[in-house]
């Protein structure tokens, strides 16, 4: 018996590419889509949605306002008002669709890019900008809107989400949890441990992965050798791939997954197949690692344009609606711009304030030394040191 081939190239280079062809979502079997890029409503055998005209308009409003907020934040970074910004450009439908699926008792655990989910949860957009300006590390009260703080270390929050869901299980509340993460995070141990814990404890959690094709410069084939949603099968819960640029499909599937979780049927993985149309953050330069043609191809699948086309075709919105929305967008941008520019730096003693919940001797001593040090300059009639 001859062995044809033993092993493969150690680096993985030269192996057939099993993932990249999926970039053409029309070729993906099972992809859940309810609104085509051309704005046509289509049906899916397993997932459906029935919305009122107002709801269609409401989703469109969300998408437009979220994109406008994001563009304003990018501009504020360019003007030096923010130190950094992680744009959600291109991922609005995935975030608004899943965000609007959340009920009042549900809880969301975001990465640092979930501005659209924050919007849907009613978090003031200005709250999101403090950490990017450098005046805090988040600082909002997560329980005010059931929206946890942004998590920067990739994948850590997936475990927090599962733990929170285990708490809901024990408290007997009727809420469920959505854990947000990306394609790169799916390589992290914490995400895989979160899958394991959620599965064995049957936790009411939905894993919502925005596969935006790029983990900074690394494409999805550097993270996985099978389509991402199929990973769920190995952990013992269902996975589904949804058109992440289709707000209707994202809403329908997330709603279904949350209802399933609330019924006690356990976790589910949703892979929202989308595209990061901008840079990873304002510090990134995507022209170094990806082709402009790829971006152009995805622009044709824009999440906002397809819903706009649907509204037009079906006479759901008139010129006045679009004009009013544009005025509202301008007003939001103005408020954000004004708010950021007037966001004060914190008092330096803030660094001592919340290190611990209860008094800590060392922190108290250091705060006293710090205060005395600064007071010593004031005694000399100076404002600060050196």
């Amino acid at each position: 018996m001859a062995v044809d081939h033993v092993g493969g190239p150690a680096t993985g280079a030269g192996l057939p590419d099993p993932v990249r062809p999926d970039l053409d979502t029309s070729q993906t079997p099972g992809l859940v889509q309810l609104l085509t890029p051309e704005g046509e409503r289509v049906e899916h055998p397993d997932w459906s949605i029935d919305l009122t005209d107002d709801e269609y308009r409401g989703l469109y409003r969300d998408l437009v306002l979220v994109r406008r907020f994001d563009a304003e934040a990018t501009a504020l970074q360019r003007q030096g008002e923010l130190g950094l910004w992680a744009s959600l450009l291109g991922q609005e439908a995935a975030q608004v669709g899943s965000g609007r699926a959340l009920g009042a008792a549900d809880y969301a655990f975001p990465t640092y890019r979930e501005h659209g989910v924050a919007w849907c949860r009613g978090v003031d957009p200005l709250n999101l900008l403090g950490m990017f300006r450098g005046v805090n590390h988040g600082g909002w009260d997560p329980n005010s809107n059931n929206f946890h703080l942004y998590t920067i270390v990739i994948g850590s929050q997936a475990l927090h989400a599962v733990g929170y869901a285990m708490g809901q299980q024990r408290s007997g509340t009727d809420g469920a949890v959505v854990a947000y993460f990306g394609d790169g995070a799916s390589s992290q141990g914490d995400v895989n441990e979160a899958f394991t814990f959620a599965a064995v404890f049957n936790a009411p959690v939905v894993f919502f992965c925005q596969n935006n094709q790029w983990a900074i410069s690394e494409p999805t084939e550097r993270q996985m050798r099978v389509p991402l949603y199929q990973r769920a099968a190995g952990f013992g819960f269902p996975g589904v791939r949804v058109d992440g640029n289709d707000v209707l499909a994202c809403l329908a599937v997330t709603r279904g997954a949350l209802e399933r979780a609330r019924r006690g049927e356990g976790p589910m993985l949703i892979e929202a197949f989308t595209y990061r149309m901008g840079a990873h953050t304002t510090s990134d330069d995507p022209t170094r690692y990806r082709l402009a043609a790829e971006l152009e191809a995805w622009k044709l699948k824009d999440p906002i344009e397809r819903l706009k086309a649907y509204l037009h075709k079906n006479g759901l919105a008139d010129a006045e609606f679009f004009a009013d929305l544009e005025a509202e967008s301008d007003e939001l941008a103005k408020r954000v711009r004004h708010g950021v520019r007037n966001m004060p730096d914190p008092d330096p003693t803030l660094m001592f304030e919340h290190a611990y919940a209860e008094p800590h001797r060392l922190v108290d001593e250091e705060r006293a030394e710090f205060t005395a040090y600064h007071a010593s300059f004031k005694d000399q009639g100076q404002e600060g040191g050196h």
């Binding site: 600082g139 997560p142 850590s156 927090h160 599962v162 814990f197 064995v200 919340h354 919940a357 001797r361």
Partner: protein, 333 residues
């Protein structure tokens, strides 16, 4: 194990005392949970959680998947949902997969949220050597955690403190890393559940003396007491011994007051001396007691090597002779 029956003083090992403390915390607050590997039916590899799952159920005493980051990460989520999880890391050398969750998430969450959320999580870690174990089962990683703002770090040295300090740690609204000296799990003492415990973050003078101060915590407190006994019997020396108990924050006032009386200080721990707790204590006490010191602060501890195979671990670990050698050097200065 049924805890302390009838609230009467009871003779217990340290492992039983922690068990009794956990039991009381589970009884006192329905939000208290225990999580870890093998903590349920088995009762933990050291039997510290023996019988708790039987009495409090699988939802409150939770056998978790074998994944330390997952244990701490889900405990954080449970704390956000209003619970007070007590997680067990099976051995010192297995805490590192959870290090990121402890240092980057658990320790910083309260500050990140500007105080809007609290993290009442206890991480129990059996630590230290001297039990003839294989690699990764004998380490003393406490300095990594004491170095991190947002964490509190404590280590009892005896059953009585173990009983009270675990309950105090669980009541804290901050995360507490609770280091259990595994080689002392079988030492016995009488626990009086009606007694009033010292504050969690206070040090204690456990033997008064005038010639030199020994500071230790966890497993090395008994070693220092033995050394002080030998020094008194053999050389007529009068050594003071302080049980530090809390590694973050440190009760420097108690050490300072002692050193101002004795003029000499030796700090003893199993962990490597380089950048260990002894380094910080030496620096701070030198600042506070510069004109009272008759000799430099000396440290006795492990070496800057990976923890050695068990057949030679006695040469790595501080013992009575090495402690007294340091006392000799201090007194001869």
């Amino acid at each position: 194990m049924a805890g302390i029956s009838g609230g009467k003083p009871t003779q217990m090992t340290m492992a039983q005392a922690i068990n009794a403390g956990l039991r009381r915390a589970l009884e006192d607050d329905a939000k208290t949970l225990i999580m870890g590997e093998d903590v349920g039916k088995l009762g933990g590899v050291f039997r510290v959680t023996d019988g708790l799952q039987k009495d409090f159920g699988e939802d409150r005493v939770v056998d978790t998947p074998l994944a330390e980051s997952g244990i701490v990460g889900t405990a954080i989520g449970l704390a956000l949902a209003g619970y007070r999880p007590v997680v067990e890391i099976q051995f010192d050398g297995f805490v590192y997969p959870a290090y990121d969750q402890i240092v980057s998430q658990l320790a910083k969450m309260h500050a990140r949220a500007l105080g809007h959320v609290k993290m009442p999580v206890v991480v129990r870690i059996p630590y230290g050597g001297g039990i003839g174990a294989v690699e990764h089962h004998s380490e003393s990683p406490e300095a990594y955690f004491a170095h991190t703002a947002g964490l509190r770090v404590v280590s009892p040295s005896n059953p009585v403190d173990a009983y009270w300090m675990i309950q105090q740690a669980i009541k804290s609204d901050d995360p507490v890393v609770y280091f259990e000296p595994k080689r002392r799990y079988w030492t016995k003492a009488e626990i009086d559940p009606a007694a009033a415990p010292d504050p969690l973050h206070s040090a204690r003078v456990v033997r008064e003396g005038t010639d030199c101060t020994l500071v230790a915590y966890g497993p090395m407190v008994q070693t220092c007491l033995d050394a002080a006994g030998a020094a008194a019997a053999d050389d007529g020396r009068n050594l003071e011994v302080i049980d530090l108990r809390s590694l973050s924050p440190v009760d420097f006032d108690t050490i300072e007051a002692s050193v101002k009386r004795t003029g000499r200080l030796v700090v003893v721990h199993e962990a490597p001396t380089f950048l260990g707790m002894g380094s910080e204590i030496a620096a701070r006490i030198t600042e506070r007691c510069f004109y009272h010191l008759e000799a430099p602060v000396l440290r006795v501890g492990g070496y800057h090597s990976p923890y050695p195979p068990s057949r030679i671990e006695e040469e790595y670990l501080p013992d009575l002779d090495r402690v007294l050698d340091a006392v000799d050097r201090s007194l001869a200065w």
